[in-house]
């Protein structure tokens, strides 16, 4: 880390290829796989063939175009090159892709809701592209439900001056396995807001990443997860600042309860030599509600230029604060209610960032349901 102008290369995530063969089958010893229980991937990392479907249903805003296209469509894979074995496998294996386009200067009047419903035990692969042409604005919801063994890649292509807000809900059934890459490519002065909510699934490994093709890009990546007994929920973020005067802010918060509830958060930020004037901050907070739960939280900030506006990170994992609970209980509030208030409070500042009130309510309702469990 630090200043090294002689060798201005990042050590983070340099590998990218469309070809599965370019990535060795992970053994679990690799840095990027060491936290993931490979046996629970049910072969997604070993090339298991597709034998099931995740049904994609899109409820689109009137200003938005939705197409289902074949593998040869020229718009696929333009913004993102797979960065690991499973991602490359998904790219090599999907049959149909969904392309959502918002035309130049169009402003979507309602959220476009993409519901992805898993229906079986076999493996399924998918690909989605959301493309905002210059000055367009849209809100897109990805709602994952049902039972699935699913690997996919999602490309968010945000044009000059465009604004894309995405909410991705991983509300899978208990046995689902989902490995996914979300990549956003921001053109000059583009705005990207991502809000990830991961609640369901046996294993979810979601890798949101951002890169910039011009100056002035602004990305906020927020995430909320609630890990129950036995669940493995992993979020791996990568923000690659390669252009000047861009901004990124990462805020992921999770609560864990139950035996072998496992959360992993990796926050990689690269500020390359060219990225002068970068302003970035990443935060991860974990609330361990019971014994037997574990949170791994690893921020990596790699700064290759001296000219940053701001760069920082913070990571905390801890239990509910006894002093908070005491204060509330000392006012007559029973322990269980006090606990819920504090947990809700922990997520509140995050959920407030969802600007669309209807979606905010929806996320709150799901968090509420988790708290009632």
């Amino acid at each position: 880390m630090g200043l090294d102008t002689a060798k201005p290369l990042s050590t983070l995530h340099e590998k990218a290829s469309y070809d599965v063969a370019d990535f060795a089958v992970p053994t679990g010893r690799e840095e990027e796989w060491r936290f993931t229980p490979l046996s629970r991937l049910k072969g997604l990392h070993e090339g298991v063939a597709a034998s099931a479907n995740v049904v994609v249903h899109v409820d689109a805003a009137p200003e938005v175009t939705v197409e289902t296209v074949g593998r040869d469509d020229a718009r696929l894979g333009r913004a993102y090159v797979p960065a690991d074995r499973v991602s490359a496998q998904a790219y090599a294996s999907f049959e149909k892709a969904t392309v959502i386009t918002v035309a130049r200067e169009a402003v979507a009047s309602t959220p476009t809701v993409v519901t992805l419903t898993g229906s079986g035990r076999g493996a399924a692969y998918g690909h989605t592209v959301v493309k905002l042409e210059p000055m367009a604005e849209a809100v897109v919801v990805l709602d994952h439900q049902g039972s699935a063994l699913y690997a996919d890649n999602v490309e968010f292509v945000v044009g000059e001056g465009a604004t894309l807000k995405v909410i991705s809900l991983q509300d899978w059934a208990d046995d689902a396995v989902h490995v996914s890459h979300h990549h956003a490519l921001l053109a000059k002065d583009a705005t990207f807001r991502s809000f990830v909510v991961t609640l369901g699934g046996d294993l979810v490994r979601l890798s949101p990443s951002v890169s910039y093709s011009g100056p002035g890009g602004d990305a906020e990546l927020n995430g909320l997860y609630f890990v129950d007994a036995g669940q493995h929920l992993e979020h791996r973020l990568l923000v690659d600042h390669s252009r000047p005067d861009c901004r990124s802010n990462v805020d992921y918060r999770g609560a864990l309860q139950g035996q072998d509830a496992h959360a992993v958060w990796i926050g990689d930020v690269i500020i390359r030599v060219e990225a002068e004037g970068t302003d970035t901050y990443e935060l991860n907070r974990n609330l361990l509600l019971t014994d037997g739960a574990r949170a791994d939280s690893v921020p990596n900030l790699e700064i290759l230029t001296g000219e940053v506006t701001g760069a920082g990170h913070a990571s905390t994992s801890g239990r509910l604060d006894d002093e908070h609970l005491f204060y509330l209980q000392a006012r007559g509030i029973p322990y269980e209610d006090a606990r819920r208030l504090v947990i809700r409070g922990f997520f509140a500042q995050l959920v407030e960032k969802i600007e669309v009130s209807e979606l905010r309510e929806r996320v709150l309702a799901r968090v509420e349901a988790e708290l009632e469990k």
Binding site: D322, E323, H324, F326, Y327, R331, G332, P334, L341, R344
Partner: protein, 257 residues
């Protein structure tokens, strides 16, 4: 919990030979004190003598281990109850250092607390009215209702927020731990008026911990106790407070050492 022993004229808090450890160190070494309805007791004593320990132990803070003695509220042993049960039984502690609770708004907190203490949710309209008049009386800006509990409040704002809770929750016995510290003259007057409203019906008891006689000019005590090295070493009337402020605690700290 039974309320049957409650006498209509008000409540009584009895502290009998209370011994308390903090981190395996004995801090309270046999405290005896009875607070009856309509009475205000001031406790004064040097830093570190155990005044807050007494307050927290009565309220049930997990850090404080009671190793002996009893605390009875109308005959019910509070030490057998959880923290929230004690509060619902009618005990209130205004803290020396009120806790910030991130993400929990004052209005949500107060509504939840009032609901818990009363056993039913207050009518929304009535609650909004009570809250507003309570805040007005304590010169708390209406915007505080939307802020997070104690987060970023100044020292004085935190203390006023404690007294707001006192007035909304209407306990039988209030323990006020240095509610006067950090208040300017105006805030002290406003807070004192709140305490006086609370005790005006004559059915509530107040245990007021302080270092200064300043607040005692507004909130007149019936009894003054000198606390030193974990126990009460002297008792008297309001005149004792004046003497303490002039002469300090030296006489007592020497005596108990």
């Amino acid at each position: 919990m039974s309320d049957t022993s409650r006498v209509p004229s008000g409540s009584t808090l009895e502290i009998r030979d209370l011994h308390v450890n903090v981190a395996d160190k004995e801090i309270l070494r046999g405290v005896n004190l009875t607070v009856r309805a309509g009475e205000t007791h001031a406790i004064m004593g040097p830093n570190g003598s155990g005044k807050s320990t007494l307050a927290y132990a009565i309220a049930g803070h997990p850090k404080y281990t009671v190793t002996g003695g009893q605390v009875l509220l109308d005959g019910v042993d509070l030490l057998e109850l959880t923290v929230d049960e004690r509060a619902r039984a009618g005990l209130f502690l205004a803290m020396q250092y009120p806790v910030e609770v991130p993400g929990v708004s004052v209005s949500n907190f107060l509504r939840t607390a009032v609901t818990s203490v009363r056993g039913e949710a207050p009518k929304l309209r009535q609650f909004a009215k009570d809250l507003k008049s309570g805040m007005d009386a304590l010169s708390i800006d209406a915007a505080f209702a939307q802020r997070n509990v104690n987060e970023g409040f100044s020292g004085g704002e935190k203390k006023r927020h404690e007294i707001l809770q006192l007035e909304l929750l209407k306990p039988k016995i209030a323990v006020l731990d240095e509610t006067d510290s950090g208040l300017d003259v105006d805030a002290l007057r406003v807070v004192s008026e709140g305490i006086n409203r609370f005790r005006s019906n004559g059915e509530t008891g107040v245990l007021l911990i302080t270092h200064y006689t300043r607040i005692l000019r507004y909130v007149k005590p019936d009894f003054v106790h000198v606390f030193s090295a974990g126990r009460i070493v002297e008792q008297g009337g309001p005149e004792l407070a004046e003497r303490l402020e002039n002469e300090g605690y030296e006489a007592y700290t020497k005596a108990s050492a």
